[in-house]
Each structure stands twice: as C-alpha cells, then as structure tokens.
Assembly symmetry: C2
Homo-oligomer: 152 residues x 2
C-alpha cells in the first residue's frame, strides 16, 4: 500500500532489512566512484589504519539508500529530496560486514504554498552486525499528500 506524507508520524522507526557486503563489492564501488588505495589495494591497506581495505563512506551511504528504498521509499509518494545534512562517517565498512538500515521520522512539515505535498525529514542509520552505527545522516524528502486529504 502506497504511503503518503500523512502516513509517516514523527518518532516512527522503520527497520529496513540487512545485507552482507563482500570485499569484491567494496572494491567494485571504489573502482567506480572512490578509487583511493585504502578502498582498493589489499597490500597497501595492510600497512594502513585498519589493517585491511575499508569501504568508501559513500558506499555506506549508498547501501543505506538501497535498503531503505527497497523497504520503504519505493512504495511511497516520494517526489525527491532537496538535501541532506549531518552525514557522519563513524566506523569503517569492512569486508564481510552484515549491515542493516533503519530510519526514524524526525520532522513532518506540510507545504504552505503547495497543498498537495509536504516535507519529511528522516534520520538514516546504517549499523553493522555488532549493532554499531557505521554511518548516519538526516535526509529531507518531499512527499505527495494523500489525494483525499488534498481534495478535502
């Protein structure tokens, strides 16, 4: 059932599933978008801060996005995002990690100028198998309002 603007309540938390990330996926992402040695080169990474390669922070963000799209956003009246605040890269994403995403509704603001929509702000969080937060951010999204509410 499609979720509209008014179907998200401030304080609601939604668990968005999990997946395991391989070294190959970490290297494939890095080759495409962030080809720095500590994301790609196993030998160089052995001498580095973490003793092995670690995923790009943007890979953590993109994995979080994918999990939340599959679990929630793909069946909503999502009209797009004006922006994101406060991304924090807290812990490394390591090969073999099983990551899970959750979102929490932080704010819900009906549009004053456009009665067919409103803005929701979510906290996005990516956690590892020890339930430690790897990365989090606050994302704003514009949602269409439920047609009946709009007409009413």
């Amino acid at each position: 059932m499609t979720r509209y603007f008014e179907d998200f309540a401030v304080g609601e938390v939604i668990e968005c599933g999990s997946r395991t990330v391989s070294a190959e996926e970490i290297k494939s992402f890095a080759e495409q978008f962030d080809p720095q040695p500590f994301h790609l080169d196993e030998e160089a990474a052995k001498k580095g801060m973490f003793g092995s390669i670690v995923g790009s922070g943007w890979h953590s963000v993109c994995l979080c996005m994918r999990l939340t799209v599959d679990a929630v956003f793909n069946d909503t009246s999502n009209m797009g995002s004006p922006g994101v605040e406060k991304i924090r890269f807290i812990r490394p994403l390591s090969p073999g990690d099983t990551v899970s995403a959750r979102i929490e509704v932080l704010e819900s603001v009906p549009s004053r100028s456009k009665p067919d929509r409103g803005r929701l702000t979510f906290r996005f969080e990516l956690n590892n198998q020890k339930n430690e937060t790897i990365m989090d951010f606050e994302g704003m999204t514009i949602f269409g309002r439920r047609p009946a509410a709009n007409a009413g």
Copy 2:
C-alpha cells in the same frame, strides 16, 4: 607531487575535470543503489516531473567524488572524512549531461591534540554543460601534515 594539509589554502579553487553521463550509467547506478522508477523506468518517467529518467542524487554525489579523487585526493595525505554537511540536490542529472566538478577550500584547522594532522573543509560542486550547479555539499577531510612541518 603529494599534497599535504599545508598545501591547501583557504579560498583556493581547483577544477577537477568532466565526463559525460549516459542513460545506461544512470540506470546502472539506480539498479544498484536507488531503484526508484524515476531513475530507471523510461515509460514511467515520461509521465513524471522531468519527462525522462533523471539520475539519483547519490549518483551526482558519487560522480563528483570520482572526479575529485582522480584530480586531487588520490595524491594527497588524505586520512578519511569525519562527515559531510549541506548536500543540496539543486537540478536533475539527465542522460547525456557533461558534468564537471570543482572544489574550493573553505576552512583549514590544524589539530590541537594530534600535531601530525589537520582538518580541511571543502565545498564540492557538480555542474552541468550549461554551467548550472546540479549538486553541492561541504565535506570535511583529515589530512596528514607535511613530515618536515611535523618534525619541526
């Protein structure tokens, strides 16, 4: 020549090259990380806000990252990023766009507790072929200081 913390001056602007983005790349990114219909489904997108598919905002971010890594960050003393602020998704990324990246040094703060490093904040910007900004953000990065300065 490797650039260290002290090799970036506040106000410095670095142009980071460009690339053209195909519909196939936009769909491939979306399939991996943001499989919403307006990034993937040409037929559905015709009826949407833009009249064609548009790239994920995270695709714009990742393209900007790749261009800046190739031009600058891959030959620096980069030790990783604590976080990012103020991502703004200003215009859509469209198939066929030629995007270019630029960075500007906003802030330079030597670490008080760790004399071997400092924090630089950059404005990252992705522009299209009309020189319109598609997306920008402020990213913090920790850099190692030049070994001589550290020893001195």
